[in-house]
């Protein structure tokens, strides 16, 4: 059965499960933070870089 991504809540807090959301990576492939096989993740959210 096809897995459906979780809806992203309006606000995430410490202790919340990170959303199962499909993003696109720089190789043009789908990247989902839930597919990390038990590895921690550090995500650096860039601001706009003019």
């Amino acid at each position: 059965m096809e897995r459906l991504p979780d809806p992203v809540p309006d606000r995430l807090s410490i202790g919340d499960r990170f959303p199962d959301i499909d993003l696109v990576d720089h190789r043009g492939r789908v990247w989902n933070p839930a597919d990390r096989q038990g590895r921690p993740l550090v995500a650096i959210f860039h601001r706009h870089l003019a």
Binding site: V8, S13, G15, W31, R39, P40, V42, A43, R47, A50
Partner: protein, 142 residues
């Protein structure tokens, strides 16, 4: 940061990714220009930025004297300045998060200004610190 990636890998093979809101079709160039060798993903809709509480900076803070000084330096180096592409929000601020191996948010650092970032040591410390004991009286708090 990039010089210390091995320190992140040493903690349970922690993955480090850059999240941007630039359009997916521009990601490859973005990665080469700003983030190589890190992995880059796009949250074009800003849905994660908003859910994590990463706000927008003031015009004065984002486009203030420090930014002007930087642009003067770039122009003197012969760099060409570009207009923001596709009406991207130049005031949107960034931040950092640490997600544990179980997929739970362990740490959130919202940037309060364009140059407000945690140090590498702060990120490593957040990874090494055990998760707090849940406060059972309020499931939203830890």
């Amino acid at each position: 940061m990039c010089e210390r990636l091995d320190e992140f890998d040493a903690i349970d093979r922690t993955e480090v990714v850059v999240v941007t809101f630039t359009r997916a079709r521009n990601l490859r160039g973005y990665q080469r220009r700003f983030a190589e060798p890190l992995f880059v993903v796009s949250d074009e809709s800003l849905v994660l930025y908003r859910a994590l509480g990463f706000g927008r900076g003031s015009v004065a803070r984002v486009w203030g004297p420090r930014a002007a000084k930087k642009y003067v330096q770039l122009l003197r180096q012969g760099k060409q300045l570009e207009r923001p592409k596709n009406r991207e929000d130049t005031l949107q601020l960034g931040g950092n998060v640490v997600i544990d191996a179980e997929g739970r948010l362990r740490w959130i650092y919202p940037g309060e200004g364009p140059d407000d970032r945690p140090t590498v040591d702060m990120l490593l410390e957040a990874l090494r610190t055990p998760p707090p004991i849940p406060d059972r009286t309020n499931p939203r708090r830890m």
